[in-house]
Symmetry: C2
Subunit: 238 residues, 2 copies
DNA sequence: TTATTCTACTTGTATTTACAAGTTAAATTT
DNA sequence: AAATTTAACTTGTAAATACAAGTAGAATAA
């Protein structure tokens, strides 16, 4: 042990194991090396190993069973945070298309914004964008996003056609979503929504309002979503 | 320490602190006793206390800050995993009433059950119950529950009027919900639902189908929920 | 008075040790 | 051969101990 890093050991082990699971070193359903083996390999003690494994359990990468071991689970595949589940079959990314209705543009925050803004968010102004998502060429998902305009160079020039908003934020700006809160409602489709989602007027639509936390202090992502749930469901694990 | 119980210490501490937070012994925003104080009071060691506090963090009852302490958060008002958020104000438990439409009874599993059952669940048969939840004396929440009849003595005799189903399972049978999956849809209220939830026929209703995992192997809780979202929302943090 | 330093707290990380309890498969007995 | 026991694993719980790092307020110095 020299002085090379300030990252705790248990986090390093977590990252190593997580990477190995995601890259397929350990197959789904197979067992991770036992806690004692991990101790020997990484030259740490069991409580530290267990701290890393507890985090992996919490994040859904493994499940543990007393007397047996740590079982590798199918890594959670998020689409944002929610997933879409079709009535017919699972939906691969290849069937999911995104149309940008409103390219990212800088605007002031709306008058009656449903969420309370932090001071720094208020001063920064916001970036606004609208998207429409298609499954099998049918519109199912319309979302409006408000993002604080806090040090995001060239953001409004980026294309989000084929990339996830979250992926861009994470890889290009080191902004990671850390959780958040959401409100769900079933509402009648108004004229605009019914037109966008190709539905009769007044048809039930799932409406979601979310505020997402990030690793950047005081930086939140605000989304309003309308979801056509006639042929699909919002699917979530927790 | 005689032999009185097999419940781990850290779980007992968790239950005590959880109860104290929920009953208002510790105010929102205030600090919990320090880890060392809890050690002294309950005559246990710090790792054990920390195990209990970690669980409280995970379940959203406290947040911790190094150098400061454990900060009590507004307890999440779970109805199961989801919470209800009113448009007007926060909803205290005093406004939430539960009516049992169908007392727990042992039945065979339904013919076309939407979930696949494990072998042991299939053999056990199921306990069926229906509930209607009221906020401010208006019905908002109708749920049907299927629970495997696996070693739950006196379960059908219990009253769930004022107690959460999950709380009973956790405290009386040591069954803890460990997560699960759910599907959400917006649907039109049929005749039964519109009558139960006091809504016009065809009004949008939030429908949720869930399968909850527990710490007991092969034991899942299956729920179907209809939610009147005209005056309230389903609220969730993640 | 104001700014700095110090001190006494807090939680975070980590080691070491011990035993309990569940699982599995080999070894043994019937 | 079949059933049982045993042994060697696995994770779960728990104690005792040590030091690191962040926080906040008191004591001190400018």
């Amino acid at each position: 042990m020299t002085e090379e890093s300030k990252i705790p050991q248990h986090k390093k082990i977590y990252e190593i194991l997580r990477k190995h699971i995601l890259s397929g070193v350990y197959e789904e359903g197979s067992l991770l090396p036992s806690e004692n083996e991990l101790c020997l390999v990484h030259n740490i003690t069991r409580p530290t190993v267990r701290q890393a494994l507890d985090a992996l359990v919490k994040d859904g990468f493994i499940s543990k069973k007393q007397g047996k071991g740590s079982i590798v689970r199918k890594p959670p595949q998020d689409i944002g945070i929610l997933s879409i589940s079709g009535t017919a079959s699972a939906i691969g990314n290849q069937y999911l298309k995104t149309q940008i209705l409103q390219k990212p543009q800088i605007k002031p925050w709306p008058e009656n914004f449903p969420f309370e803004l932090s001071e720094i968010e208020n001063e920064s102004g916001c970036i606004y964008m609208e998207r429409l998502r298609f499954v099998n060429d049918q519109p199912v998902f319309y979302d409006i996003n408000h993002i604080p305009n806090m040090n995001l160079p060239r953001f409004t020039n980026r294309s989000f056609e084929n990339k996830s908003l979250f992926e861009t934020l994470r890889t290009q700006y080191q902004i990671e979503v850390r959780g958040g809160e959401q409100k769900l409602k079933a509402v009648k489709a108004n004229q605009m929504i019914s037109k966008l989602l190709n539905l009769p007027l007044g048809e039930p639509v799932l409406s979601i309002e979310r505020k997402l936390n990030t690793n950047r202090e005081g930086f939140h992502i605000y989304s309003t979503i309308w979801f056509n749930s006639t042929k699909h469901s919002i699917f979530g694990t927790f």
